[in-house]
Symmetry: C3
Subunit: 226 residues, 3 copies
């Protein structure tokens, strides 16, 4: 029974990993991330250039930070696809502006699929370079979540994922599943799909049921003044 499920997942994996579909998913994820950045930039009255940079930082910032720390050239420097996707996102926001609000749930899904995929890319890249499992989980999380932190720094806001949203925890859950699967000898494709399911379902459930990490109680103002 389990073997059958794994076979089915593996077939899904094989079909998923044919380059074309992979590139399509990656492009949609990049566009979804960029749109989230561009919309926040527009709320701050950035000009087109500023919005484009914030969109790019959101979409490729996490992977860039990962690659710089891994000591390899940032992934977008060898393939103009990502720059072009971000430009497409900018054009889309310029053209459709406020109508995007009505597509919020659609973009939320794309954003979540992008998160799952970026997480897996970070996991695989780090493991392929021979790093241990705990580093892979961290790098997957950075790939998925650090772009949003850079975005919030650029628009001069406190990073959203530090106060709510279990965005990063979804990456970590998916990352742990991935490295456990890897240690158990699961095929990479099966593993990737399992991990993506965990990331996506964690995030969807978290939003639906308002899951939240505990807030760290601040020391009171009076105490601070002592």
């Amino acid at each position: 029974m389990i073997e059958e499920v794994l076979n089915i997942l593996q077939m899904m994996g094989n079909s998923l990993r044919i380059p074309t579909s992979f590139v399509i998913i990656e492009s949609i994820g990049t566009i979804a991330f960029a749109i989230s950045g561009i919309r926040l930039a527009s709320a701050k009255n950035f000009d087109w250039f500023g919005a484009y940079i914030v969109g790019m930082a959101t979409a490729i910032g996490g992977g860039t930070l990962r690659d710089v720390m891994l000591g390899i050239p940032p992934f977008w420097m060898t393939n103009p696809l990502y720059i072009i996707c971000c430009a497409g996102a900018l054009v889309y926001v310029i053209l459709f502006g406020k109508k995007i609000i009505n597509q919020n749930s659609t973009w939320f899904i794309f954003d979540t699929i992008g998160l799952a995929l970026f997480n897996i890319i970070g996991l695989e890249k780090t493991l392929n370079m021979g790093y241990p499992y705990w580093m892979a989980v961290i790098m997957g999380c950075i790939t998925g979540a650090a772009g949003g932190v850079i975005r919030d720094i650029l628009i001069n806001e406190v990073p959203l994922i530090f106060r709510k949203d279990i965005y990063a925890m979804a990456c970590i859950a998916g990352g742990i599943v991935y490295v456990v699967g890897n240690a158990m000898g699961l095929q990479a494709e099966v593993n990737a799909i399992l991990s993506a399911i965990i990331v996506i379902s964690t995030r969807l459930l978290a939003v639906k049921f308002h899951w939240q990490l505990p807030i760290l109680k601040g020391e009171t103002d009076e105490s601070d003044k002592k």
Copy 2:
């Protein structure tokens, strides 16, 4: 006719590129960038150390980001010239303080020349490493404009170039001219001067005629609250 103009430009190029003049221009550009950072830091009541760091981030931050992404040691780590120029800028601001306001147009010119030069340095460095043209344009723009973004993050302001000023677009215009010239086989010196002329004139005209990129219309507050 065109050949003659190119010859003249080439001679200008040869004279410009003798190391001494080059170092002088680069130093003046570094000082102008550092002064812009130090002045903004002083408006926030930073101490001397804080102002120095903000000055340095403005002057060498863009090139550092470029070099880290290119995987080479940041340029200022092999030559103390830049650190010293920034120290000179700090001493200058400490000594002359408010009088610098009367020199605003002078420093604006130096800042613009610095921008043109930094852009060219980024373009050449990236092309010399074998990257494609579009990467060179991006890296030239990062060299010229990213320092100001880092400066604004350090003083906790929304980056200025994201909301007005066509600072970065001047770099991109100059960068496109440079790579077109390079593809047409122009000598590097001629090419550098042409590119510098584009950057400088774009910026001067933009300020004079209040050119601005379109602002991205923000979604209304009401919509945001939905």
Copy 3:
């Protein structure tokens, strides 16, 4: 007489540098840095994940920036000790919360010892890679002080060390002593202890006597508006 003092310092150095003690000091320093970040994050009502990231950025951000600029893998990527220390710091703050205020002077001492040690690690690492003395002083300062800047960027505040506190100047003083000692041929262990004494005493004296760098006088608001 001087030779005897040096001998004593050297023996202290030898005992200090046996790996176990070294690791203990480094761990305590890491925990102290992380706690300072986590406490500031708690004042902003960050959740546990956000607080953990800010704690990590404070403790390992400086060394990460140093290693990225030196072109080597960030130190924490090859040893999970630092990640674990930061997790310990988070648990400690969650459990003891407001009581930490009563331990302020204890954590201040640990933080200062950590600063001295991180500074020395940066100095040694940079010199071992063949960089000149001035680079070593800068890299020591970055190792000790940049984590606090990254922390303040993440919590969206103007970096504290740019306005008060001679945190970074203590690193620079200790760094200069270290490179002078190195140039004079002092043993690394003696040198490290001398440098640590300088950093620690500079910081303690600075806090006790309210030493401060001069504030850079801002241009007046009226002038700014011109």
